[in-house]
Symmetry: C2
Subunit: 114 residues, 2 copies
C-alpha cells in the first residue's frame, strides 16, 4: 500500500502526460492530501475543508480552508506523475505542508474561527 | 445564449440526478461562477482565485479566495439541475453572491491582502 506512494525517476519519465491522469494516481494524490488534512485537524483542533480541482491536463489546486481562512493552498502540476522518490520524502513533504498550515492558523487565529 | 441559464420547474424535474452531470450544464454552472468571480474582481480590485469541485453525484463546492481570505464559499447540490427559473433570478443570485464576497473582503481587508 505505502509502496504505491513511491515513484522512481525512471517510472515517472515513463508516464505520458497527455490524456486523463490514471485513476489510481489520482486516488493516491487524494489520499496524500486527505492525510495532510487530517493531520492539520489533529494539530489545530479545527475542522478543515479540502477542495481539490484537477484538470484533464493534470493541473489544478488543492485548498484547505477553515471558516474564512485559507489554511493551505497548493498548485498541482503534473498530477499524472504524482508520487515521491522515497517514503521519507513523502513524509517530509506532508510534514512541511502541515507545519505551513499550522503557521497560518496561528497568524490569523480570529479568521480561522470567524 | 442567456436563455440557456433558465430552466423551468418542469424541465428541472425531467433531468435525472443519477449519473454524470451533462457537460453543457456544467459549462453553464462554470460560466455563472466565472462571471461572479469577474464581478468580485471588478468591485474589489483584487485578484480572485476560483476553485470548483463537483462529484459525479452533482455535489460539490465553489470557493473564491484571495491571498489568505476565503471570499466566498458555496456548497453545490444538484449540479445536474443547475439553472434559474428566470433571468431576473439569475442576475439577483449573482448580485447577492458578489455583495456577500465584497462584505467579507471589507471585514478582513488585511487577510485579503496578506
Amino acid at each position: 500500500m505505502l509502496a504505491n506512494f513511491t515513484v522512481t525517476e525512471e517510472q515517472r519519465r515513463a508516464i505520458p502526460v497527455i490524456g486523463d491522469p490514471e485513476p489510481d494516481v489520482l486516488l493516491r494524490l487524494d489520499l496524500f492530501y486527505a492525510a495532510v488534512g487530517v493531520a492539520i485537524e489533529e494539530r489545530s483542533g479545527l475542522l478543515i475543508s479540502r477542495t481539490l480541482e484537477i484538470s484533464d491536463e493534470g493541473i489544478g489546486r488543492v485548498l484547505f480552508t477553515t471558516r474564512r481562512l485559507v489554511v493551505l493552498s497548493k498548485t498541482l502540476r503534473d498530477a499524472h506523475r504524482f508520487g515521491f522518490n522515497t517514503l521519507g520524502k513523502c513524509a517530509k513533504t506532508g510534514t512541511k505542508l502541515v507545519k505551513d498550515a499550522i503557521k497560518s492558523i496561528e497568524a490569523y487565529p480570529d479568521v480561522a474561527r470567524a
